[in-house]
């Protein structure tokens, strides 16, 4: 499902995000999918998700130029499709498997 720029998102608690020099690795312990986030700005957006009210707000907070947003939305759609990021419920999170 394509991401909703105005919804609040979170990194799935079953995902381990591991910084690398080129960006980050993200591994989902539940579905065993492995994704490469190939730019530090994308990593910054993902890391900022819990602290902002929407994807749009995260993109702005990280300072991503709006002309790059289509590329970022494509990336976020991919992460959503592999269940790495999901819409955040506003109830308190139960502690998951995330390191």
């Amino acid at each position: 499902m394509p991401v909703d720029l105005d919804a609040p998102y979170t990194l799935d608690p079953q995902v381990s995000l591991r910084p690398e020099r080129f960006g980050a690795l993200a591994y989902h312990f539940g579905n065993r999918k492995l994704s490469f986030l190939k730019h530090p700005d994308l990593v910054a957006v993902v890391e900022s998700l819990d602290g902002t009210g929407s994807l749009r707000a995260s993109l702005v907070a990280v300072g991503v130029d709006e002309r790059r947003w289509p590329t970022f939305v494509t990336a976020l759609n991919t992460l959503e499709a592999s269940e790495m990021i999901c819409i955040r419920s506003e109830r308190p999170e139960v502690d998951g498997a995330r390191a």
Partner: protein, 49 residues
């Protein structure tokens, strides 16, 4: 997106004297990025049985 960015990056001003293709590359660099997420199978790495 509600507002378009009207002014090109300052670099572009200096590229007015360059070939149009070079100026286009400078602006396009900002916008046209490759795929930022690449998926790979964790079962697809040689050296683990």
């Amino acid at each position: 997106m509600d507002t378009a960015i009207e002014n090109p990056p300052t670099d572009a001003a200096a590229t007015d004297l360059l070939e149009p293709a070079e100026a286009a590359v400078t602006t396009d660099d900002l916008v046209v990025e490759e795929l930022l997420v690449e998926e790979v199978s964790i079962d697809g790495m040689c050296g683990v049985y």
